[in-house]
């Protein structure tokens, strides 16, 4: 047996999860995204992602809705925390230069997916994203615990990522809720067209 140098080393990619709200709660049903995500896999719509499958959890209240499961992360359309939106949860990947680069990559992937949905003919222009708000979560209780120290550690990279994509840091505010939940924050951002973001 030969060793496998190409195997992933034990990388420590920060698990950033960013969510962009969709405008209009009832405009689109979650199950409309199922064929769209299957189509993305069929057409290899995301060139730098290894797309695996589509999971349907629309039956779960406040759950992950519909997921496009990829090797490095999941694209999720859900109503979690009472907010309909598209999220990208980064899980793994080659380590980048720093936390800001990690967060920027995750955010750019989210924006790219949002653009694809906004332009998808099956949704006929109903996928309208609110670019003035962004939910940020860090799904890594070891490296980013939900406390002041964790917040201090990740804040610069979150600000950096937003600046890279929006061209503006916006106003970042930590969401202090259930301490058992992942570290999370909201960004208030200047209104910018989806197409004008630096994805």
């Amino acid at each position: 047996m030969n060793p496998h140098p190409q195997a992933n080393p034990a990388v420590h990619t920060i698990h950033h999860a960013f969510k962009l709200p969709l405008v209009g709660e009832s405009a689109i049903a979650l199950d409309e995204f199922i064929p769209i995500f299957h189509g993305w896999i069929r057409n290899r719509a995301l060139a730098d992602e290894v797309m695996i499958d589509v999971a349907d959890y629309a039956h779960v209240h406040g759950g992950p809705g519909v997921l496009l499961v990829c090797h490095e992360g999941h694209y999720v359309v859900d109503r979690s925390r009472n907010l309909l939106g598209l999220a990208y949860h980064r899980r793994r990947g080659q380590p980048l230069a720093d936390g800001t680069a990690d967060a920027t990559l995750a955010l750019r992937r989210l924006i790219r997916a949002a653009r694809l949905l906004a332009d998808d003919p099956a949704l006929a222009g109903r996928a309208v994203f609110d670019t003035t708000r962004l939910e940020l979560r860090v799904l890594d209780r070891l490296r980013a615990p939900n406390d002041d120290a964790g917040w201090a550690a990740v804040q610069p990279s979150l600000r950096g990522a937003i600046a890279a994509v929006w061209g503006h840091e916006g106003a970042l505010e930590r969401h202090v809720g259930d301490p058992r939940a992942p570290l999370s924050a909201w960004a208030r951002l200047p209104a910018t067209a989806l197409a004008a973001l630096h994805a």
Partner: protein, 753 residues
């Protein structure tokens, strides 16, 4: 931040032994990456640690038009035969008798959020499963579980799986006594025990507090233990167990047999140990299809098996661990709040409806058991944290998972039930209908399981939605029916013991695959899964809701006063039911009914890329299908004979059905076959078994073995029990024949030479 590791952070939180085990596993991961462990060995290693495979982990996926390669970055590194390293997998977390603390639930919520897909899934055996986990994440995941007293060790593989138990044990009105401490003690005793490390197949144990209810499902397990008491010395009551062996579902279900009517509590461990030793020593090791304990019990016969067990028991040197725990069985679960009787329900219709189905009084006055309905067994990390809060505040840290994929809170003061309801409603967990016709259970099926044939979860979700919309019209008899769905013949959805069971199969119609479900009727959920149902025919997946509608409407319309569903089916007869469904079994061509060529909750055309499409193939396939359909008809007639109590006719019918199916396949290769059974067997063996044409990817030649074995038997001596197995085997053989025919069509091998 990158220097921090869970290993350091949690050092000392778990037992040294458990920490060392996980360290060893992490080393094994490294060795596999370095090419120093062979992949088969690594596969069994990770299985025994609870890290399972998942659909598409061979790196291939059908996208609705064609097969695609999933280009994982790991290259050719595998974590088992045909199992790509980077492909996500499932982690099964054993929860003995389904008992959890709030802290344990919170940790699993964290894990679902950080490593999985934000969903915790309750299985039909009281485990929690997390899906889409990368193997590299498993050591840390195991450490975090170990830190709160959970091990995934032996959750999969050829080992003692999760020990299940009645979720209302200790608070139930009909139990002999609380089985919880016994289940806990036995689960811990057997974990990693040297006598359980050399099994040829998995081994399942279940506890039940009484004979009549369903909760423990003891009779469908390798070992089933039913609590009983008898008068002891000096007026005391002695506790013990009815000890059953050799039950199991799987492809061919077997009901467990009574090994001993009263095993005293102190004998529980040594007798179980003796059974394990006999299974390890004499159980099948080469042929996985015949390796469960049920086959050994059947082969030896119960008296001979019992004699071997008794002799082995006598040889085992006594151990303090056998009885050291017994003194602590009395105090197990304690309430947090004092009892308080229910105040009148407030006239809130939603609360009333929920109370009716999801709340039942405990044996202890003033307390209630609250069932939390989890749709398809799924819940989120946020919901898990909310449930943990409820468990701490109201129940004294007691949560139990159920085999119906729900969760129960016990020791809730009845007066607090409305507040608990309000809190559950805020979490989106106040759906009524627990343990009713609406509460459909299902295995993962094609959603995530490598073996799934049909979308069991998709169908279950659809039935759940439709039945919930009609639930107000359900009377008690209709409302209490159980529907269970399995995505393949392995029966993880436990369809055999449902009133209405569905088993995923497929059919080939003019060169295209059509997802179907076999309709299984006559199972009995109560009395610890007291009876197994039989299939009456296969219907396209998309028409199953209509099947449910017709059967339940007939039951509502024509049942006698007080008549239960099983008795009704027996009185009306399966023939009538089948006749009522015949029109649903015919599948129009693709152009006329495209929706039937899709499965539930999946927009991809079902399997179209896997088979060739052509006029020639379609025409010749239809010839073979006549024979297969004849086989289906004959096996149905055999099941009717079984119902009449005519074992010999049923056994002969099962063989005749297999012969028809085998002949249909042989005719694909030669017209010169005739009707002589010996000739059909011989030709089938040479053309389909020896060539492995008939072999299933996962089951190999198992279904052909059923055929050969039955053809060699003296069917005049068949008992009803034998005949039941033969009919089940014939059904599976016919399903395998359909699958074989499809594969041949795909390969273009459809015309006689």
């Amino acid at each position: 931040m990158d220097d921090v590791r869970w290993k350091q952070r949690l050092a000392g939180a778990a037992s040294a032994e458990l920490e060392a085990e996980i360290d060893v596993f992490e080393t094994q991961l490294r060795l596999r990456k370095d090419g120093k462990i062979e992949d088969k060995l690594f596969a069994e290693t990770r299985l025994r640690r609870g890290a399972y495979g998942q659909r598409y982990d061979n790196g291939r996926r059908y996208d609705g038009e064609k097969d695609q390669t999933i280009a994982f970055p790991c290259g050719d590194l595998t974590k088992g035969p045909e199992t790509v390293w980077d492909a996500p997998g499932m982690v099964r977390i054993k929860i003995p008798f389904g008992a959890l603390t709030a802290t344990q639930l919170e940790v699993m919520a964290d894990l679902a959020e950080e490593y999985s897909d934000d969903i915790l899934h309750v299985t039909t055996r009281q485990d929690i499963q997390l899906h889409f986990i990368h193997i590299d994440d498993t050591p840390d995941l195991f450490r975090r579980l170990a830190a709160v007293g959970i091990t995934t060790r032996e959750a999969c593989g050829n080992s003692v799986r999760n020990v299940t138990g009645c979720p209302v044990a200790g608070v139930c009105k009909t139990e002999a006594f609380d089985i919880s401490p016994y289940a806990k003690a036995l689960a811990h005793y057997l974990l990693g025990h040297p006598d359980t490390q050399d099994f040829g197949r998995k081994f399942k144990i279940a506890f039940s507090g009484c004979a009549t209810e369903a909760c423990g499902l003891a009779l469908m397990h390798d070992i089933g233990l039913v609590a009983v008491t008898r008068p002891g010395d000096a007026g005391a009551t002695e506790r013990g167990f009815e000890f059953y062996v050799g039950g199991g579902l799987g492809a061919v279900p077997h009901q467990a047999l009574l090994l001993d009517g009263f095993v005293p509590e102190a004998e529980l461990m040594p007798l179980t140990q003796a059974v394990c030793r006999i299974f390890a020593r004499h159980g099948e090791k080469q042929n996985r299809a015949r390796a469960r304990l049920k086959f050994l019990v059947k082969k030896l016969g119960l008296p001979a098996f019992k004699q071997m067990v008794d002799e082995e028991r006598a040889k085992i040197p006594p151990e303090a661990r056998w009885s050291a725990w017994i003194d602590s069985v009395a105090a197990h679960d304690q309430p947090k709040r004092p009892p308080a009787p229910a105040l009148r329900k407030a006239g809130d219709a939603a609360l009333d409806a929920w109370w009716q189905t999801n709340v039942r009084p405990q044996r202890q006055p003033g307390y209630a058991v609250v069932s939390v309905t989890l749709p398809l067994g799924d819940f989120t990390p946020d919901q898990a944290r909310g449930l943990a809060d409820l468990a701490r505040e109201y129940t004294g840290d007691t949560i139990r998972l159920t085999v119906e994929q729900n969760l129960v809170l016990r020791w809730v003061p009845e007066a607090d039930v409305p507040q608990v309801y309000a809190r559950l409603a805020a979490l989106g967990l106040a759906e009524p209908g627990a343990e009713s016709i609406v509460d459909v259970t299902a295995c993962p099926g094609t959603d995530t399981c490598k073996l799934g044939i049909s979308a069991s979860r998709g169908l279950a979700g659809e039935l759940r939605t439709r039945l919930a919309a009609r639930s107000a019209g359900h009377d008690e008899a209709l409302g209490s029916l159980r529907i269970k769905v399995s995505g393949c013949f392995n029966s993880c959805g436990q369809h055999h013991v449902a009133d209405l069971g569905f088993l995923g199969v497929q059919r080939n119609v003019e060169g295209r695959r059509v997802p179907h479900f076999q309709v299984v009727l006559g199972g009995q959920w109560t009395h610890n899964a007291g009876q197994f149902g039989l299939a009456i025919g296969a219907v396209p997946s998309k028409r199953i809701p209509e099947v449910v509608d017709r059967i339940t409407s007939l039951f509502a319309r024509e049942r006698s006063s007080g008549e239960r569903f099983g008795a009704f089916i027996k009185r009306v007869g399966k023939s009538k039911i089948r006749d009522m469904l015949t029109d649903l079994m015919d599948v129009p061509p693709y152009e006329q009914a495209r929706e039937l060529y899709h499965d539930w909750a999946d927009p991809r055309e079902y399997g179209i890329g896997d088979i060739g499409v052509g006029e020639c193939a379609g025409e010749i396939v239809s010839v073979a299908k006549f024979g297969l359909a004849d086989g289906e008809r004959v096996v149905f007639e055999a099941s009717e004979a079984l119902e009449r109590g005519d074992a010999v006719a049923a056994a002969k019918g099962a063989l005749a059905a297999m012969l028809l199916a085998a002949k249909a396949l042989v005719r694909q290769q030669t017209f010169d076959i005739g009707d002589d059974p010996a000739r059909i067997v011989e030709e089938f063996r040479a053309r389909f078994y020896d060539t492995k044409l008939f072999f299933d990817t996962y089951a190999g030649g198992k279904f052909a073995h059923y055929f050969f074995a039955l053809a060699a038997r003296d069917l005049q001596a068949a008992t009803l029990d034998d005949a039941h197995h033969y009919v089940e085997e014939a059904q599976l053989f016919i399903e395998a024949a359909y699958a074989c025919e499809t594969r041949m069509a795909q390969a273009g091998a459809t015309a006689p030479a």
